[in-house]
Symmetry: C2
Subunit: 309 residues, 2 copies
């Protein structure tokens, strides 16, 4: 089954477009996780990698019956070296085993056969054994040009995996290069057009959306509405909800009448809900998993007002 | 000592701007390496990772007295999963131990603390223990905006490491987005201006070049000459020499009167020299290391005509 078909099935089952990011940061981990890691021993990177794996798997246990997918951030694992890379692979396999789709946020990009190598490392599709990091979908960077996206698209089609190309990012300085304008078309709009074109080429007959998606930040709601129209067949991955300031109202334009069209990501706001009110007083550190659950359910509730899934 | 000071020292010692890329591809490896990997056993990815490590270390043995630095391509190692990531870390440590500078070609890029995590994974500077992948310098992608380059720059300054920001890539479709023009300035020129500005901010008094560099493909010689003028203090990393068609004449504009200003990379043309003439007849597969040596020396000789080091 194609990535988009699997994603839609999961969204229908869970009745939400909420995507839980997995952004482990050691300083934010609950004490019980850190203690367990210390007890286990080993050098600092091994301890951290164990803590990251355990924390993410526990988050997965909590959210597996609530959301369609999780999005691990590769950078935090990579910071720990090869041990961290192994932990990421395990977390991804665990999420799949629990029935979640996995979008690996690695923002890779390179030319020709090098792009092929990255694609082959991450794009597993339905068969977890098809890639060392068994992602259903991968985020990629378009700067090098459309020809460098093609190897990713080719393997995504072959393995029935998905891609999310960076179009409009959620950081304050996103405009520096992405807003540069030629003939009235901004760079991120030109990238959007290229992604929509790549996506349409790969779509199956009868589908409304393809498996080649776009990353569009929730921090620029007007642009999101325009981009939704500009890429009518492209599924969106929308970061910036929660900690970065995006609200349900900011993302409502991303959904069609059936509630499809986008996944809305929240990472820190869910992972470390126990550190912030109202969850901090209600659950605290000793019951951090309940805080993850409450924050996820609150996000789902808030999205339900704008997404008719 | 800063990255650029270490690099210039190494360039003076070896009297060349030649950079040897490490691009292991299993199908191109000499039979003796593949046989040794098979004898060692393990699953496919373990075997390949062992073969990549052994091949790269042997290439390092050959080039360590000839060139200032090597550039491993992260993607080929990553394709093998966590085992490959471990092999990459080992190859990088081995190259340093042999006295070579290491530029890790990973083209990373992300926002805020995520960018920090990538920087921390790769930017070791002089102390090999400072990062799991002990690079002297790292390639990064500017699409997300100048604010997302800053965390890399901050850590590079702190650890006396270097960066090479993608400005103009060497692929046929590089122009798709990089040539888009606003007010007469192309995107890659705007990125070049941003890199030069970031670089100048970090430069030490009395230095001609800083440690924040730019990737500029050799496949567009006229643009290279313009970019050299546009970024007078920015060291360049120039891919595209050899297999991709770039010649010594194409890159001569990158050097100043002392021969500084750029490193010229050749990966496949050196790694797999034994597969192509004139090296194939002269050395063949059984003496592939001699082919690596001859191809490296030929590149150095060819660059000597345009680079007065």
């Amino acid at each position: 089954m194609t990535y988009i078909a699997r994603l839609h099935q999961a969204m229908k089952t869970q009745k939400t477009a909420a995507l839980v990011g997995l952004d482990p940061r050691y300083e934010n981990l609950p004490e019980e996780i850190k203690e367990a890691a210390k007890d286990r021993g080993g050098d600092r990177l091994e301890m951290y990698a164990y803590a990251f794996e355990r924390f993410c798997c526990e988050v997965i246990d909590v959210v597996t019956d609530l959301v369609p997918a999780v999005k691990p951030q590769a950078a935090f694992f990579e910071e720990l070296g090869p041990e961290g890379c192994l932990a990421l692979a395990r977390v991804m396999r665990y999420a799949r085993k629990k029935g979640l789709l996995v979008i690996c946020d690695a923002k890779r990009g390179d030319i020709g056969t090098t792009a092929q190598a990255y694609a082959s490392a991450y794009l597993a599709g339905e068969d977890a054994k098809a890639a060392p990091w068994a992602a259903d979908a991968l985020t990629i960077n378009p700067y090098l040009g459309t020809d460098t996206l093609q190897p990713f698209v080719d393997l995504a089609v072959k393995r029935e995996a998905g891609l999310y190309v960076l179009v409009r990012t959620s950081n304050p300085g996103a405009a520096t290069f992405q807003d540069r304008t030629q003939d009235g078309v901004k760079l991120f709009e030109a990238v959007a057009d290229a992604v929509e074109a790549l996506n349409v080429q790969t779509m199956e007959a009868g589908e409304t959306y393809g498996s080649i998606g776009a990353v569009v930040g929730a921090t620029y709601p007007e642009e999101l509405a325009q981009l939704r129209k500009r890429m009518p067949h492209t599924p969106l991955l929308i970061p910036g909800f929660g900690s970065q300031g995006g609200t349900a109202d900011d993302v409502k334009s991303a959904f069609d009448a059936d509630g499809f069209g986008a996944l809305i990501n929240n990472s820190r706001g869910i992972n470390f809900a126990y550190e912030k009110e109202p969850y901090k007083s209600q659950f605290g550190q000793s019951n951090w998993q309940a805080a993850v659950e409450a924050a996820t359910k609150d996000m789902i509730k808030s999205l339900a007002g704008v997404c008719p899934l």
